[in-house]
Symmetry: C2
Subunit: 342 residues, 2 copies
C-alpha cells in the first residue's frame, strides 16, 4: 500500500455513498445510526472470497465489489424489500495494491448508487486473501415482506429473466471456447457474472401482484426450487423446456448441455416466485413494467421435493451450486451457505 492507512480508508470511504433517507449518522463512528421507521426490515449477509468465489485478474476488482454487494441485495429482492443500507467488510493482504482496493470500492459504489443503497458503515481488515462480506438492510414497502414458506398447491411457478447466463459466463472466464459468439453477446453473458443485477423492483412487483413465496436463484434453479419446496412443505414441478435461456448460452461449449446449465448453474440472481394462476397476468405486466419478462415454468402440488422434467422425457437431479465449497455439489433443499445458515 503506497499511501498510509488513514489515506486509504479515507479514499475508500469517499467513494461510497454514505447518506440515505434513514441514515442519521453514517461512516466514521462506532456504529451507524439509522432511523428504520415503523415497518418491518429485512437483513441479510453474504460473502465472497478470493480463490473460492472468484480469482483475480480474470475477475476484475471492480467486479468483486459489484458482485459482492449485488449478491446481498438479491436476497433483499427475494424478500420484496426496498434496499436501504449496506455495511461492508473488506479483507485484503497488507501488500495489496491501493488501486485494487479502490477499484473494489468503485464497484461497490456503482451498485450502491444504481440501486439507491447507502453504504453506512464498514471495516477494512488484513487478511491473507481478498474477501468481501456485505450486510444489507431493506425495508417493507407496500406489500408485506415475502418468505420462502408460502407456496400453496395449485400455485404457478414463475421466474424473471433468463437463466444459464452466469454459468456460461463462468465458463468463458475460465477459458471455455464459444465458437461464433458475437462480441456483444459475449459481453452480455460476461455481465451476468461481473455485474449481476439484483431484481429489487421485480421482487416488489411480484409481492404486490400476490406472489405467495419467493427466492433468488443463487444456488441454481433445482436447488433453489428445493428451498421453496422445503420451506413451504409442498412439491414443485418444473418443465425445463419452458425455462428461457440467456442469449449466447447455447454458443458456449459446455459438456453439460444448455438445459443443465440453466437448471443447475447458480448465480443468475433472477427471482423464482409462486403465485395463484389468476394473478399471473397482473404479475407479468407488473414485472414487465420494469423491463423484465416473467415466465411460467411449472407449478406447485402437495407432496415434497422438486421435479425438473427434461424436454425429451426423464428428469434431471436437482443438484446445485454449493456456496461453501465454491463448486457444484449437494442436493436440493440443502440450504447450502444461505443467509439463514447461522
Amino acid at each position: 500500500m503506497a499511501r498510509g492507512e488513514f489515506d486509504l480508508i479515507a479514499a475508500i470511504t469517499e467513494r461510497l455513498p454514505a447518506t440515505g433517507p434513514k441514515v442519521r449518522v453514517g461512516s466514521g463512528d462506532d456504529a451507524a445510526v439509522i432511523e428504520p421507521g415503523d415497518g418491518a426490515a429485512a437483513v441479510t449477509v453474504d460473502a465472497i472470497v478470493e480463490g473460492v468465489h472468484f480469482t483475480l485478474p480474470e475477475f476484475p476488482p471492480e467486479a468483486v465489489g459489484r458482485k459482492g454487494l449485488a449478491a446481498t441485495l438479491s436476497d433483499l429482492a427475494a424478500m420484496a424489500a426496498t434496499a436501504g443500507e449496506a455495511y461492508v467488510v473488506l479483507g485484503a493482504p497488507i501488500e495489496a495494491e491501493d488501486e485494487t482496493l479502490l477499484a473494489i470500492a468503485d464497484g461497490i459504489a456503482a451498485v450502491a448508487a444504481r440501486e439507491g443503497v447507502s453504504v453506512a458503515g464498514g471495516d477494512l481488515v488484513a487478511a491473507p486473501q481478498i474477501f468481501l462480506a456485505a450486510t444489507a438492510v431493506g425495508y417493507e414497502h407496500g406489500a408485506p415482506l415475502l418468505t420462502r414458506a408460502g407456496a400453496r398447491a395449485g400455485d404457478l411457478v414463475g421466474i424473471t429473466g433468463e437463466l444459464g447466463g452466469a454459468a456460461a459466463a463462468l465458463g468463458l472466464l475460465s477459458g471455455t471456447k464459444a465458437e461464433g459468439i458475437s462480441p456483444e453477446r459475449r459481453d452480455a453473458l460476461l455481465a451476468r457474472q461481473l455485474d449481476p443485477r439484483p431484481r429489487l423492483a421485480a421482487g416488489r412487483a411480484l409481492a404486490e401482484a400476490g406472489a405467495t413465496s419467493m427466492i433468488d436463484l443463487s444456488d441454481g434453479l433445482g436447488a433453489d426450487a428445493g428451498h421453496i419446496a422445503t420451506a413451504s412443505r409442498r412439491r414443485i414441478e418444473i418443465e425445463l423446456d419452458r425455462v428461457p435461456l440467456a442469449e449466447g448460452v447455447a454458443e458456449v461449449d459446455r459438456r453439460g448441455g444448455v438445459v443443465e446449465l440453466a437448471a443447475l448453474g447458480g448465480e443468475d440472481f433472477e427471482l423464482l416466485a409462486t403465485l395463484p394462476p389468476e394473478r399471473l397476468d397482473e404479475a407479468r405486466s407488473a414485472v414487465g413494467a420494469g423491463g423484465l419478462e416473467l415466465t411460467e415454468i411449472g407449478y406447485v402440488t402437495d407432496g415434497e421435493g422438486v421435479s425438473l422434467r427434461l424436454p425429451g422425457g426423464g428428469e434431471l437431479e436437482p443438484v446445485g451450486f454449493d456456496q461453501r465449497r465454491g463448486s457444484r455439489s449437494g442436493s436440493a433443499g440443502s440450504g447450502s451457505g444461505s443467509s439463514g445458515a447461522g
Copy 2:
C-alpha cells in the same frame, strides 16, 4: 468435514439463539425479518481473521466466536445501544474439522445468550483461513444514542474498568513470561483476550447520566481518545498515572512498561466517555450499579489532539493498535479499520 454440509449448517444453527423480541423470521430464509420499532438503531460490523487477529490453537476456537461477537457488541455499547440482533459470516477451509467450527459457534452462542442477542442470520463460506465477520444491530433505549462527536471543553474524561489486561494477555498467549503470577490472575488476564466483555449496561448508564461522547477502547487509549478529539474537534488531556491497571499487568514482563501497555495496548473493550464534571458522581454510581468502576483520567479542552502525560513528566506518543495490520502502528485519530471505515 466429516458430516455433510447440510448437517453442519443445521448443527451450527441449532446452537445459536435465533429468536428475539424484534425477530419475526430468523435463520433459514433469504433474509431475516425484523420489526425494529419506532426508535433509532445502531448498526456496526467487525471482522477477525486467522493469522492476523488470532492464531489457533493458542487462541481456542470457542474464543474466536466469543471475541468475534463481543468486539462487535462493544461498538454498540459505545453507542449506548441495547443489543438486538447479530448476523455472522463464518469463513473456514473445507478441510476444517467440524469440531472447530462447532466450537466457534458455541463461543458465539455463549456471548449471544449472555448479552441477550439473537443471531438472526449468517453465512458459512469456504475460505483459505478461518474468519468471522459479525454485524450487530442495537436499539436506542432511554437516552439517545451517543456518538464520538459531542465532547465539550470542560468535560471530564472517564473510563470504565481497568486497562492493559488485553495487551498483557496477548503477551501471555505468545509466550511472554510472567514471574510469580498466580493462576487466578493469569486466568483473569487471559479472559481479557479470550472472553472480552462488551460494556453494554455501562454504556447505557453513562448516556443516561449525561455523557457527551463515548467510544470503546479497541485501538488503545491514545488512539481512541484521538478519535473522540477528532470527531468532537476538541483536545483531550490524559494523566496516565490515573489510569487503573488490570490486576496482573505489572507481573507480565513487557519491555514497554505497564503504563505504555495500558495506554497503547488495544482491545480492552472498556468505554471512554466525556461528561460534564457535575455529572461525575451520578455517572459513577450508575456504572457502579453494574459492578464496574468509572475512573476520571483527564479532561477536555479547546484545541485538538491528545496528550498522554507520563507520571514522571513528559508525554507518550498516542499511537495505537492498527486493526488492518494486526500490529501497533499508525497515529491517534487515524480511524484505523474502525466501523466507519466504509
